[in-house]
C-alpha cells in the first residue's frame, strides 16, 4: 500500500515502528474529532455543568464537555479537574455496583445511576456497546436549571449515536 511506507531507517526498525512522513499519508487523513463532536451534543441539555466520556475499567476520561451551567458559578477550579474527579467517582460507583450485581448473580443490567445532591444531579449512564468494552457517560446537572427526566431521555437518545459504525461519513 502506498500510504504505508515500510520504514527503512535503523531507528524505526529497532523500535518496531511503521511510520509515515505526515505529509504523505494520503488515504487516511486527520478527520474531525468524532468523539468530541458526539459528546458535544450533550450541550443541548439544560443545566449541564460537565459531561465526561469515561472508560469504566480504567476510569480514563476520554473526553470532556463543559456546559453552560459550568464552572463559572463555582469556586474557581479547573474545568478539567472537575471532570476528572466526577469521572473517577463515577467509575468507583460503577465498579462497586458491578461487584454487587456480580455477587448477586442477578442477570439484570444497570441502566443508570442518579445521584441527587442539594444543588446538583450526577447522572451515570453505561453504554455497553461503545468502545472496546463499554463506556460510561457521566453528566453533572445544575438542579435549578434542569429537567432530570428530559436529560435522561436526551442521554439515552445519544446512546445509539455512540455505538460503532453509525457515525456519519468521514468527509472527503
Amino acid at each position: 500500500m502506498h500510504l504505508i511506507q515500510a520504514d527503512r531507517q535503523d531507528d524505526e526498525r529497532e523500535s518496531g515502528s511503521i511510520s509515515v512522513i505526515t505529509d504523505t499519508a494520503e488515504s487516511i487523513r486527520a478527520g474531525t474529532d468524532a468523539v468530541h463532536e458526539a459528546l458535544a451534543r450533550l450541550r443541548s441539555i439544560d443545566g449541564l455543568v460537565v459531561a465526561c466520556l469515561v472508560e469504566p475499567d480504567s476510569a480514563y476520561v476520554l473526553d470532556t464537555v463543559i456546559g453552560d451551567a459550568g464552572p463559572s458559578t463555582d469556586p474557581p477550579a479547573a474545568p478539567d479537574s472537575i471532570g476528572l474527579t466526577v469521572a473517577a467517582g463515577a467509575s468507583d460507583i460503577a465498579q462497586v455496583i458491578g461487584l454487587m450485581t456480580s455477587s448477586l448473580g442477578d442477570p439484570d443490567e444497570l441502566e443508570d445511576v442518579i445521584i441527587t445532591l442539594g444543588r446538583r444531579y450526577h447522572l451515570i449512564t453505561p453504554l455497553a456497546q461503545a468502545g472496546a468494552d463499554g463506556l460510561l457517560i457521566v453528566i453533572t446537572l445544575d438542579r435549578a436549571h434542569t429537567n432530570l427526566a428530559l436529560a435522561r431521555q436526551q442521554l439515552r437518545a445519544l446512546g445509539p449515536l455512540l455505538a460503532p459504525a453509525i457515525e456519519p461519513s468521514r468527509g472527503s
Binding site: M1, L3, I4, A6, D11, E12, E14, S15, G16, S17, I18, S19, V20, I21, T22, A25, S27, I28, A30, G31, T32, D33, A34, V35, H36, A38, E55, D57, S58, A59, Y60, L62, D80, L84, T85, A87, A88, G89, S91, D92, Q95, V96, G98, L99, T101, S102, S103, L104, G105, A130, G131, A132, D133, L135, L162, P164, A165, E167, S169, R170
Partner: protein, 325 residues
C-alpha cells in the same frame, strides 16, 4: 520471557503547570538525536517546549515511540501494549467467523515482537472499507494512554540504559484528530501508576493469574469480558498476556483482573487454587506463608480500589515507594 517493566521504583517527577524551556533543560537531556543515558520526560518536555513535530523513539527492550505534533502528544506506542492496529483488527477475528484464536495469535505474535507492518497495513485497509470514526478515535485514545504508561512511566530499568532519539517530521500512520499536552498525559501516567501501586491480592500486569478451581459461592454473574479473562487465566498467563489475547488495553485488563480477584474468581497464587484458601471471609487463615513468600500484605478481599483517591490525592509515595506498600 517478557521483560518486567512495571517494577522500577522512582522516576523523574514532573513539575505541575507549564514547563519552561529553562526548566526542561535541567532534565537529563542532551542534544537531540544523540543517545540518552535514561528515558524520562526530560527530552519530551524539551521537545514540547520547542513545539516539535516528529517521533521520539525509546529503544531498548522497552521500546516505544511518542509522536509529537507541534509539541503535543499525538500518539504513543509501545511494544508492550496493543496499539491501535491491534485493537482495530481484533474484532475481525471474533465477530465474523466465530472465535478464531489461531488467526488472532498469528497477528499477535509479530506485534509483540514489535513487527507492526502487516497489522498496520491490514488495519489501514479495514479503515478504508468501513466508516468507524467514533470508535476508531475511542480505540486510539485507549491505546495511546495504555502505551503511555509503558513508555513514559517508570518502566525503563536503571540497569538497562535506553537510548532516546528524535526524528523530526515522522508521524503515526493514523493521523491524530486530537492531541494531548505532555503535562496531561504525564498526569494520567501518574494516576495509573498510583492505581497499580494500590492493587491488592497480588495482582500486577506481569504476574501470572489463575482462575480458581471451584467457586466459593453459589452463583455469580460476569460480563462477557470478565468471562473471557477468567477463561484465559490458566495459570500461565499474566494480565499483560490476557490483554493481548483479548485485544484490550493492558491497564484496563489488569484492573478487570483485580476486580475478578476481589470477586474470588481469579487468584495469583497458583498453589492457592483450593477454594478454601480464597474464602474472602477468612483471608489470613491458610495463606500466611504464601503471603509472606510473595511479601504482600494480607488484605481483606473486599478491599475496594478507589479511582477517586488516585485522581484527587496523587500519592508520590505510592509511585516511588512501592516497597512500602
Amino acid at each position: 520471557m517478557a521483560p518486567r517493566p512495571w517494577r522500577r521504583a522512582g522516576r523523574i517527577r514532573v513539575p505541575d503547570g507549564p514547563v519552561h524551556p529553562s526548566e526542561a533543560a535541567t532534565g537529563p537531556t542532551g542534544s537531540k538525536g544523540s543517545d540518552q543515558a535514561q528515558t524520562g520526560p526530560g527530552p519530551l518536555l524539551e521537545l514540547a517546549a520547542e513545539q516539535a513535530t516528529g517521533a521520539l523513539y525509546t529503544n531498548g527492550p522497552w521500546n516505544g515511540a511518542v509522536y509529537l505534533v507541534r509539541g503535543r502528544i499525538g500518539y504513543v506506542e509501545s511494544v508492550l501494549t496493543p496499539g491501535l492496529e491491534a485493537l482495530l483488527l481484533r474484532p475481525t477475528y471474533t465477530d465474523e467467523q466465530g472465535t478464531n484464536e489461531q488467526g488472532w495469535a498469528q497477528v499477535v505474535q509479530p506485534l509483540r515482537r514489535g513487527e507492526r507492518k502487516d497489522a498496520v497495513s491490514a488495519a489501514a485497509a479495514l479503515l478504508r472499507q468501513t466508516n468507524r470514526s467514533f470508535d476508531t478515535e475511542i480505540l486510539r485514545r485507549t491505546a495511546l494512554a495504555d502505551a503511555a504508561l509503558a513508555t513514559l512511566g517508570s518502566t525503563a530499568p536503571d540497569t538497562t540504559p535506553a537510548r532516546v532519539r528524535f526524528r523530526p517530521g515522522i508521524g503515526h500512520w493514523y493521523p491524530p484528530a486530537r492531541t494531548f499536552s505532555v503535562a496531561e498525559m504525564l498526569a494520567e501516567v501518574d494516576r495509573r501508576e498510583s492505581l497499580l501501586a494500590h492493587l491488592t491480592l497480588g495482582i500486577q500486569p506481569d504476574r501470572v493469574v489463575q482462575r480458581v478451581a471451584e467457586l466459593p459461592f453459589e452463583r455469580i454473574r460476569l460480563t462477557a469480558t470478565q468471562w473471557n479473562i477468567a477463561r484465559l487465566a490458566d495459570g500461565r498467563s499474566t494480565p499483560l498476556d490476557i490483554a493481548w489475547m483479548l485485544g484490550h488495553g493492558v491497564f484496563a485488563t489488569t484492573l478487570a483482573v483485580h476486580q475478578l480477584a476481589r470477586l474470588g474468581v481469579i487468584s495469583t497464587d497458583l498453589d492457592a487454587s483450593d477454594p478454601k484458601e480464597l474464602d474472602g471471609s477468612n483471608p489470613e487463615s491458610s495463606n500466611i506463608d504464601l503471603a509472606e513468600r510473595h511479601s504482600r500484605p494480607a488484605v481483606p478481599a473486599r478491599h475496594v480500589l478507589s479511582f477517586l483517591r488516585a485522581a484527587t490525592h496523587p500519592d508520590p509515595a505510592a509511585i516511588t515507594g512501592k516497597d512500602l506498600v
